[in-house]
Symmetry: C2
Subunit: 270 residues, 2 copies
Amino acid sequence: MNRGNVSERRHEPPQVGVTSVILALEPAREHGRRRLWLPLVRRVREPFLGQWALPGGPLRADRSLEQSAYETLASTTDLRPRYLEQLYTFGDPARSRGGVPMVSVCYWALVGQADVAQLEPRHNVQWFADDDLPPLAFDHRAIVDYALWRLRHRMDSPRVVRQLVGEPFTLRQLHALTEAIRGERVDVANYRRRMLASGLLEETGGVLREGRQRPAALYRFRPGALDDAGAPWLPAGCEGEQLEHMNTAPERASADDNPLGSLTTALLHD
Amino acid sequence: MNRGNVSERRHEPPQVGVTSVILALEPAREHGRRRLWLPLVRRVREPFLGQWALPGGPLRADRSLEQSAYETLASTTDLRPRYLEQLYTFGDPARSRGGVPMVSVCYWALVGQADVAQLEPRHNVQWFADDDLPPLAFDHRAIVDYALWRLRHRMDSPRVVRQLVGEPFTLRQLHALTEAIRGERVDVANYRRRMLASGLLEETGGVLREGRQRPAALYRFRPGALDDAGAPWLPAGCEGEQLEHMNTAPERASADDNPLGSLTTALLHD
DNA sequence: GCAAAAGTGTTAGACGTACACCCATGG
DNA sequence: CCATGGGTGTACGTCTAACACTTTTGC
């Protein structure tokens, strides 16, 4: 798979880029299963000119990785996600451009329903369902699949679910989201009970009528449910082989034994 | 936490480094709980000269990230881990050295019992138990904690367990490893049953006598158990904003729906 | 009343946990 | 025969899947 045509420029410092996968829940269609959606941008340069690709760009030296991801993502798609998590870093020399090695730090992001609606159609940005993607530039397809895999395995995190479904929500909406991500049918009755028994939700008191049937109760996540969540996916600290004056101990966060406590970049704004 | 003294060199391309956390199971002590161990190297340069730190170095442009991690790790500690997985990439500008931004791709690695024994003592490399670490350079402590957290959450992976315990193994050894990583007592009887019922193990036919009691049966992991394992943590593909001729579809691997099929770098040699 | 979705109940099996118990072995 | 760990049995509570059922609404 890797071709070994490394040129003589190999000793130049590698380029560092940032690439993002943005995920959202497809707006409700009439009597259809809701799917996962992601925006792609059309490439305006070679290589892969005209093909669809993930938003990305070079790492700005005066920005953190998260900031760079957020900015390139916002400037190309006009979306302002509330959730941003590092996915993986790719750095094979076979990916070099003209012999200059390329390192790409990939992120995945979540945007809610409201943000999806606000995105006005552009020629160079378009939404695609996860099961109906066009051919993608580079190997962005693999990155998308990896992001979807991560999403499925983060589904038990209230943080993730909340960003996708938006608050407040009905249990049916939550259920639809679960089915969209898992890609399989889930018993509604059991899902209700599990969610209510989890203690993560609280009723808002409001109701929502979506069709012409009985209205459904609205819920939100309890404040405490979002705090610990049992997983410190996003280290707050930073590191380097040469790093000046950075001996601050990592802040240990609350309940769980999460080593890299504060999730600085998970929830960007609230 | 971030100090804003970004110098005028901000537009230089960022340096890219690779850092690794190597984990192993502490050799059996007489009647003591076995703990997790990791080797640290003493810094021979400023900053943090003389302090303990994780092995690391610059990314070689003609090497993949995994190869770079493996080589710097091998050259500094003389260890040849069989498992190597990307952990996280740190890139805050506050971590810059002399104004040149620093991006560090971190890996975690596993070495088995045999490898630990073969490592002859050096002045600049030493093992430390996970609950008795010295002060570390930079914020390497946070990285170690994060690696340990990852390890605890990868414990259900036969690949991970196998590398730490070494084959063949008795159920008691497996159990001891589990307790070491989880940091809590686990019922031996139930652990036995769960493991045997999982279908991941097969008897070698051999037995091992560790004390003066009844010898224990030896097991190994079934070949198939290591294949799918339900999690494609390590993408095989590569990516870049500028990438030449890289439109190969990702190979989808077997049983599960793992998107980035082949775990190229998880198991380095077998 | 009818359709459709909200919401509740019930049951049977799978699974985890605690703990008692027998077996094999060397001293 | 005894101490120690290897290995088995069992009973109980919890969780979950499956599915029948009642309630609320608009037409």
